[in-house]
Symmetry: C3
Subunit: 307 residues, 3 copies
């Protein structure tokens, strides 16, 4: 059960989000690491604006979440978004350190886990992102597993993504979610997607075909008193996908490069993403933008259906 | 801390369970996957009836739990039990998808985890089953760990079983339970049992010799404000057991068969159980029935002691 | 969220702790396995007294926690401490069995996990110990992971230690803490310490330089409604440390000895500690005492800063 935020917490809602909360209108949370760590300026700003526009067009209000100079923002004003998009050296905060950024008056971009925590505190039930963190390849030896998976079992937020990033170990990621009792629902498909690709080679544990059905599933979970959120996997649109067989070759090549260059630990994920960007001549980034926009649309539809 | 179910949840108590709750009489929850996925009709119906009778004879009321056409049933009327025993294609629901079965108006048999959730919502503190899920053999590479173990750390239900199924990795299962802070108490023995066998070769973390002592241990856990349930391991009666040395040969043979036939993933457990059934010429099923009945009796005695 | 203890729980506060709670004075919890299982009498009693004195001198009240004959003690009177220091065969209780010791009227020394549970029930927010449990070496195959790590994600207690014991797998221990969202803050250093040594070779996820900053970080976590505690790693004072390069040789030798003598399971940790004691000619114990005293001082300062 999520405890509410204290009124003493330095938390600020954007004017648009505050108004939406006031009138009970649907709101969709958005994370900010994609802005500060995901792509360079001004591409990141354009993407962030486009995603917010899509959510508004679908009848909901976007709430981009970030810690700026020690204040937790739920929704960014235009100038704040612009500034964040140009910020260098923002922390990348998760469950363990979102409060650290606030306490130490730092600027921190929120990962999936931290965005879920902030969204839950602001009473936001739906969140759109690109891909969640998961079990890293080699985790059987490194024990490197993202806090995002635990958060899905704790915070009551529906996370709409395009699957786990395919550079992760997807079978192990699904196993951990099953063990922790997190529903994994693929939208309009029986195949669990793999971020850039519409299929991962694995069946989806569950599948639903409408935002209303997803909203209803969450309503029954609430009625049952089950904590935590759920993962909605939304396959990237066909016209933007890089098919699985192709991606597997690129990922294998990127993994080889990482090995060759002796990349270890936390440096691996950004290295692989950059390497795939180069190998695909920028196509991976276009796919990434397309899937985030696609997820924003579905998230807004779910938020509308939940009101 | 378990949140109560909403009055809006489509949940129905059987007449017998409703009356027992009304007068504060002891109730014992029972799972339903053993009925729909555990053995064929009419053996499954006979077993289910016999277990319910044993609970009544011990002074408690049985509450077989299942989702039928989208309604969560706590206790089945005679006709419902009969119908469920003949149902083909029921879902096998756990924490992640019990609400899905309700939301989508499906029929779902409840695993240990889902039965614990439903029992907790109905205020039932004791639950009898055959064996819990656990850490699968090979989980160091597959990460395949049952949601039952997590549920024991969350839902305040005492689960009476005959140990973890011996086809699992029992040492790893005990380690996970220790890490998650779940008490493992063997009844009247210092040896942790292995489902068909009275011993697993491993010492039991804790041991108690009376239903009253078990009830008292749970009472102190409640007083301490510790969430979750506990596992009561009840060794199969001597006259029905298949000794450990014998079972290990059968299990090894079944594992060989599975390898030979290329069985993988979720298909492994049912394959192994069927293979052991065949290797033992049906004796494994008789042991299974005997241990479930034995667990029902002890669960009823604990429920009586807790009132 | 921690549920409060029931007034029916056999729990007793020492006169000093009761008075401190009454007037809202800072209190620091202390564990008792270090007394019953950590060192022989009367060295253990002298250490326990010295640690309590240090806490008082820093302006806080010590609350040594133990289960004695079925009563949970929060703070021990002088005679109780003396008796406990000479007790043979006390249980070593963790989350799974602290209530068992109470229910069965036994004497149990509390591990880090059990001390956190008891402290939380008594409203104590800070706890000083030597080193926490963690992921054991070889856990990728044994799944042997201390319940201490889970407890840090649950009970709202700041645990001040000198890092994880270096005989554990420290990289995996940090990974599990990250996955579970537990903040790991090293005091006045960027390097995560390794119990006997000021450095482990690993960077600390977070670092703070004053008790006030630590208290403020926890305050914001509370305001955010995030459950659980945090780990404060306090490097052993330079004059008492055994440098990392040296310790690694001793640990490798102790591990060789354990292998040679066929030590397995729960026997490994005490064997290794004893072996290191012998290899270092008792120096490891002096370091251990120095770091516990150092942690008691910092814990008291944090408790004072939190009032
Ligand atoms: Mn990681
Ligand atoms: Mn599984
Ligand atoms: Mn252990």
């Amino acid at each position: 059960m999520t405890r509410p935020a204290s009124p003493l917490l330095p938390m600020r809602l954007s004017a648009e989000v505050a108004a939406a909360k006031e009138r009970g209108a649907p709101v969709v949370a958005l994370e900010s690491t994609i802005i500060t760590h995901g792509m360079p300026y001004p591409g990141n700003l354009n993407m962030a604006r486009s995603v917010e526009t899509i959510i508004r067009e679908a009848g909901a209000v976007p709430a981009t979440i970030a810690v700026i100079d020690g204040t937790l923002h739920i929704g960014l004003e235009e100038a704040e978004l612009e500034t964040l998009a140009q910020t260098k050296g923002a922390m990348k905060v998760s469950r363990a350190d979102i409060a650290f950024a606030i306490a130490e008056r730092r600027t921190g971009a929120t990962t999936v886990a931290a965005t879920m925590i902030a969204a839950a505190r602001a009473g936001i039930r739906v969140f759109a992102t690109g891909g969640i963190g998961g079990v890293h390849r080699g985790a059987e030896l490194s024990f490197d597993i993202s806090a995002d998976l635990e958060e899905l079992a704790i915070s009551p937020v529906i996370v709409v993504c395009a699957g786990a990033k395919a550079i992760l170990d997807i079978p192990k990621t699904l196993e951990v979610l099953e063990t922790r009792g997190v529903p994994v629902v693929t939208f309009e498909s029986e195949a669990f997607p793999a971020f850039w690709s519409r299929e991962s080679g694995l069946a989806s544990p569950l599948s639903l075909n409408s935002p209303a059905a997803i909203a209803n599933f969450q309503k029954v979970r609430d009625q049952l008193g089950i904590d935590g959120g759920m993962l909605i996997a939304n396959p990237v649109p066909e016209e933007a996908e890089i098919p699985r067989e192709e991606m597997e070759i690129y990922i294998a090549r990127a993994l080889d490069n990482a090995k060759r260059d002796g990349i270890l630990g936390k440096a691996v994920t950004p290295y692989l993403l950059q390497s795939i960007f180069e190998i695909t001549d920028g196509r991976s980034l276009q796919t990434n933008i397309a899937l985030v926009e696609n997820n924003a649309r579905l998230a807004a539809e779910i938020a509308v259906a939940m009101v």
